[in-house]
Symmetry: C2
Subunit: 218 residues, 2 copies
């Protein structure tokens, strides 16, 4: 039986949603490894909508699940309908959406809260010792959700974000874009991706390793 | 000097814009090959907006350039500002946007018109014998733009679309998703991608070959 891996999206676009390259690369490497995929996202409004040409906030409302469906080509579920029993592992691509829509870390830092259905699923995954991968800024939201377990994560080398992660109970380690950090105890794998860049091939190198490690932990 | 390849986007999402996987895979393989990339899109409203969760039309307006900027992470130009002199080759990812926003082929079939700035650039590329790649349904718009040159293209094996391409002056050949069709005379390379699917790894195989061939033709 193919392993079934959940991919938790947070919209569609680096500045207000899931980082598109990171999400698509995750899907590519999962498919190449023979895994089946269950895409999901919370059925809530985005924190805001950013015009990606001007980087200005737009006077619009968009729904996280509806926009995430663009990346998933319509094959996606409301995260509220997903149980940890449904998947063998979960991967969370980055983009500001992971810290604006899955939690409000981008706005509130260590005082943030995780979206309720995302919190439920992450807690449930951890309780069942199922592997979780988090990319780019997503490890901040993951640390917040699982702070009592003192997760070891990386977001690259940004000192401010690293300090925020430590203040939420995480343990931060510097890591290069082409590499991964593995928390064997908590079965968590993270990679910096576009927290470091510089380009899609570099980001792909780290994500390919993350996907392989997650599948090996299943 | 790195080769500079234009990537002509048509929005952000398979049902009303550029197919996201095809666009990202194009960027990935270009970056891996050491090419530099110039993303571009027409600065016009989308034909319509499709809710990708329900596949119903939404009562919204979105701009093709602004939405394409999501895939390009903000690094994108209005196609009106791009000359064929600026790039060594051009690649057009698919998605319905390539036949709704770059032309209106999806609505009018062989009676369609190509968006004026897209027509200008494609004509200019062909006049300079610069290579053009087209993915998925994009070969229909390309055929329409360059009908006087009788381009040889593939959109996979869909009989209706193949017949429409032939009625516009093109020559259609059936091709598998993991392969490419090369028109050596016109320096055009096409691959079926999600016209055939079934999955992202299959689509990636054809796009990787298309990118390599386009670079070899530069």
């Amino acid at each position: 039986m193919a392993k079934k891996i959940g991919v938790l999206l947070s919209g569609c676009g680096v500045f207000d949603g899931a980082e598109i390259h990171e999400a698509v690369l995750t899907l590519l490497f999962l498919d190449r490894a023979g895994a089946s995929v269950l895409c999901m996202a919370p059925n809530v409004d985005q924190l805001h909508v950013i015009n990606h040409l001007t980087q200005q906030e737009a006077d619009e409302r968009r729904n996280v699940l509806v926009e995430s469906a663009r990346i998933a080509r319509g094959e996606i579920q409301d995260v509220a309908s997903v149980s940890a029993a449904d998947v063998d592992a979960l991967i969370i691509p980055g983009g500001f959406g992971a810290a604006k829509n899955l939690s409000d870390f981008a706005v509130k830092g260590p005082d943030a809260q995780v979206q309720s259905q995302v919190q439920r699923l992450l807690q449930d995954m951890a309780d069942r010792s199922k592997p979780i991968g988090a990319i780019c800024i997503a490890p901040a939201t993951l640390t917040l959700a699982l702070s009592k377990r003192s997760p070891r994560v990386t977001i690259g080398n940004d000192a401010g974000t690293a300090a925020a992660i430590e203040s939420m109970g995480g343990l931060h380690t510097v890591c290069s874009v082409s590499d991964i950090l593995v928390d064997e105890k908590n079965r968590i794998v993270t990679t910096p991706a576009y927290m470091l860049g510089p380009g899609i091939k570099d980001v792909a190198a780290g994500i390919e390793k993350l996907v392989a490690k997650i599948l090996s932990l299943c």
